[in-house]
């Protein structure tokens, strides 16, 4: 036998076609969430020192609804002068009233914020969906309830810090500059502001330029809740505004969530100075599904892992690794499940997958779809109807890909799943770890010991077992390798705002 013959041919899943017909005789009528009650101003100013103020250069930029491409409002562009004003206000508040009040009083303010978010939950949900394109089912059932939960959780810690850090006298840093992304605008705001306030810091926060609406709605809430002026300042703008925050001399700590590319820029501009920082960056999460897994539930978990929030999730499970014996079965089930995903109007209560957040991201994802096909991958997309206007992309599967494909290596940040196979647990783990990222991975197996054995070998901050994309305020979150520095959430999240 020659050497070439002895080599095993690489396994190639056959991607069977579905036999089931989901283009049903019974269709759901549109079930739009009422949105008339949600108030949107024609334009929004900057929120500095407890007041809404005009930007110093008087420039505003437009914000569009990605599902309709219509302009919904305008945000002020904060320049260096505005950022400086915000930092001064935050410094004054830190040195003044905010440091004088008792920890218990501080906690009360945060509890009040949490309760007010619950009271206005429906409005926040609607605005989040209009501004960012995510389905109302998610903003209503996931995002906003979690926002309240994070504020409640950290409110409880405010007067118990010495129990969190025994033997230490926990002290805040001072003024924190916080820059958040567009995928979970309110939730990322909560992850940043709640622990900062609980530990006694003051903040200057910049929301992403495509999704600033709910942050400014939150600014109105802050005004109404009577928090001392300057404790929370919100400045809007794009990358340049973010750079002004990062480079400002009087900021003690930077907390950033966003792309690895920008994270590296921030890290290099902070090199050699005394600013503390936490970075929560990109990911390319792998999910291992073993032959002994509960397959139907695993398929459902995979759907939640990659098509949740249109795949705009840093910890999304974007690489599926299936054990060879069940690959065909899993692919067939995934394809059938894709056929039942409803893509469309984010404000429709039945929508599963909403609009891609922005034109720019829409183009990026489409570029990757073309690239995948050019690289020779087999593409499968659900045949669902999508609206004529707006940035919509059909949920997509790439099969017949390998570790060297760019669609397998690079973070796409869209509703695109790549499917590879593995034979042994070691091979699966090796493929899972073969990435510059290390944010989140998943394991599906019925066997508890395998979860621990495989999970402990995977290099990532989060390992979900038999589920995916589950968040809880008590649990720390963060990455290995190029997925970031530091942890958010839980007690670890407090430590990121306490002087060592």
């Amino acid at each position: 036998m020659s050497n070439t013959e002895a080599k095993e041919a690489p396994y190639k899943p056959t991607s069977p076609n579905s036999k089931l017909d989901f283009a049903s005789i019974w269709e759901y009528d549109p079930a739009p969430q009422d949105s008339d009650f949600a108030e949107i101003n024609e334009r929004y100013d900057l929120f500095i020192d407890g007041k809404f103020v005009k930007p110093s250069k008087g420039r505003y930029f437009k914000s569009t609804n990605p599902a309709t491409e219509e302009v919904i409002t305008e945000f002020a562009e904060a320049t260096q002068k505005d950022v400086d004003k915000a930092v001064k206000a935050a410094r004054k508040a830190f040195e003044g009233e905010w440091s004088r009040i008792s920890a218990k009083e501080r906690g009360k303010y945060i509890f009040r914020i949490a309760r007010m978010i619950q009271e206005q939950a429906r409005e926040f949900s609607v605005l989040e969906s209009m501004d960012g394109g995510k389905p109302i089912r998610e903003s209503r059932d996931v995002d906003i309830p979690l926002v309240a939960a994070y504020f409640f959780y950290y409110a409880g810690w405010a007067d118990k810090l010495e129990y969190a850090f025994p033997g230490k006298e926990p002290k805040p840093y001072g003024v924190c500059g916080q820059i958040i992304p567009w995928n979970f605008p309110m939730l990322m705001l909560a992850w940043k502001i709640a622990p900062a306030l609980a530990t006694g810091n003051t903040v200057v926060l910049k929301p992403a330029e495509t999704t600033s609406l709910t942050a400014l709605k939150f600014a109105e809430l802050i005004k109404d809740c009577g928090l001392p002026d300057g404790v929370v300042n919100i400045v809007t703008g794009a990358g340049q505004t973010g750079a002004e925050i990062v480079n400002h001399k009087d900021i003690d700590k930077i907390a950033f969530t966003g792309s690895t590319k920008v994270g590296k820029l921030i890290q290099s501009s902070l090199a050699g100075n005394d600013k503390k920082y936490t970075l929560e960056l990109g990911g390319k999460g792998a999910m291992l599904i073993f032959e002994d897994a509960p397959i139907d539930q695993a398929v459902e978990g995979i759907i939640n892992a990659i098509y949740f929030n249109q795949g705009h999730v840093c910890c999304a499970g974007s690489r599926l690794l299936v054990q060879e014996g069940i690959a065909d079965k899993v692919i067939q089930k995934l394809q059938d499940r894709l056929a039942t995903l409803i893509v469309g109007d984010p404000l429709d209560k039945n929508t599963d997958v909403g609009a891609i957040n922005s034109k720019e991201q829409f183009e990026t994802v489409n570029k990757y779809l073309e690239l995948g096909v050019e690289e020779g991958a087999d593409i499968f997309q659900s045949k669902c109807e999508i609206p004529d206007n707006g940035y919509f992309i059909r949920p997509t599967l790439f099969t017949n890909v390998s570790q060297s494909n760019r669609v397998v290596q690079e973070e796409i940040f869209g509703p695109v799943l790549t499917v590879q196979t593995f034979r042994t647990a070691d091979e699966g783990v090796e493929k899972a770890n073969n990435t510059p990222y290390g944010l989140a991975n998943g394991v599906w197996t019925d066997k508890g010991s395998k979860i621990f054995k495989v999970g402990s070998k995977m290099r990532s901050g989060v390992i979900w077992a038999n589920t995916y994309n589950k968040f809880d305020p008590t649990s720390p979150f963060g990455g290995y390798k190029e997925s970031g520095v530091g942890r958010e959430g839980g007690m670890h999240g407090l430590a990121a705002y306490i002087k060592n």
Binding site: L20, F22, D29, E300
Partner: protein, 299 residues
């Protein structure tokens, strides 16, 4: 046909099943899709009476209701079948002659099945000879829980043979099987042994039909269809009392098995009080007002 090894267990994650059900329950069914669903559900009902006190008179009333659920709306769909004990099959058969409504009969010493197999087969043959179009049998849960899977399989196959032309629905009595993995296993055994339908419950044991159990059974039907190309029907029974619940079940079917199963050849509700709640909802959709239950006959 290749039979699976029934000693192997198909793993089912209960938390995952419950989450899937919760997600499907969040579907919002409004306006014309709601009316369509209500009519569809009505056409899928096995209008049932299974009491020791059942009499020919009671069964005749039930059949009249089946034929004419709400006189003010004569165009409404009729229920799929009337389900009674074997002794009353002939009464129902006579009352429903000339209609498309089937007569279904429970058999095999319903509800416990605790009689010798020969008695259970006689029970089945009697119901069929009286004119039953469909037989609802119970499996031997004691034998199943005792690990005697081949015995359970053989008994179902024997009843299937005794059914002749009649359709066979196999009641798993999921409330006594305790785990979803057992539900899956019993479903697989029943389908491979010749069931035309698999059915959750007798209605005599709590819990009766639940959505998680139904989802697991629908997924078993899907896997069986992937493997054999054979479509098996599904019947949740017991505990489904409201139109809202019925619509939730239809969503489960639609998003698990698709359009081919959304008719009464492949999906049924075993229920007695569901009919009136659906009627009340249909009238509400047509008139904009809820009627008192006093306006609907109680049969």
């Amino acid at each position: 046909m290749k039979y699976p090894d029934f000693n192997q267990t198909v793993p089912i994650d209960e938390i995952g099943v419950n989450e899937r059900v919760a997600r499907l329950n969040s579907r919002s069914i409004k306006k014309s899709s709601k009316v369509q669903a209500l009519k569809l559900a009505l056409s899928m009902i096995d209008h049932t009476t299974l009491e020791g006190s059942d009499s020919p008179g009671k069964v005749r009333q039930l059949c009249k209701k089946a034929k004419q659920p709400y006189p003010a709306m004569p165009d409404l769909p009729k229920v799929a079948a009337v389900c009674v004990y074997p002794r009353l099959v002939s009464v129902a058969k006579e009352e429903l002659s000339g209609t498309e409504i089937h007569v279904a009969s429970v058999a095999t010493s319903f509800p416990s099945g605790q009689a010798p197999l020969s008695h259970r087969l006689d029970d089945t043959r009697f119901a069929v000879s009286e004119g039953a179009d469909e037989i609802d049998m119970v499996i031997s849960r004691g034998a199943f829980l005792n690990g005697e899977f081949n015995l359970v399989f053989d008994e179902i196959a024997a009843v299937k043979e005794a059914c002749g032309e009649a359709h066979l629905k196999v009641i798993l009595e999921t409330g006594e099987l305790l785990t979803l993995e057992n539900v899956r296993k019993a479903s697989d055994i029943a389908m491979h042994a010749g069931a035309d339908f698999i059915k959750t419950s007798t209605g005599k044991v709590t819990p009766a039909a639940t959505q998680p159990v139904t989802l697991v059974m629908l997924e078993a039907i899907r896997d069986f269809y992937y493997e054999t190309d054979k479509m098996i029907g599904m019947k949740p029974a017991g505990g489904i009392r409201t139109a809202k619940q019925a619509i939730q079940y239809l969503v489960l079917v639609k998003e698990t098995l698709g359009a081919a199963w959304l008719n009464n050849n492949y999906f049924r509700f075993g229920a007695s009080s569901l009919t009136n709640d659906i009627l009340m909802q249909i009238v509400k959709q047509e008139t904009g007002q809820y009627q008192s239950l006093n306006y609907f006959s109680n049969d």
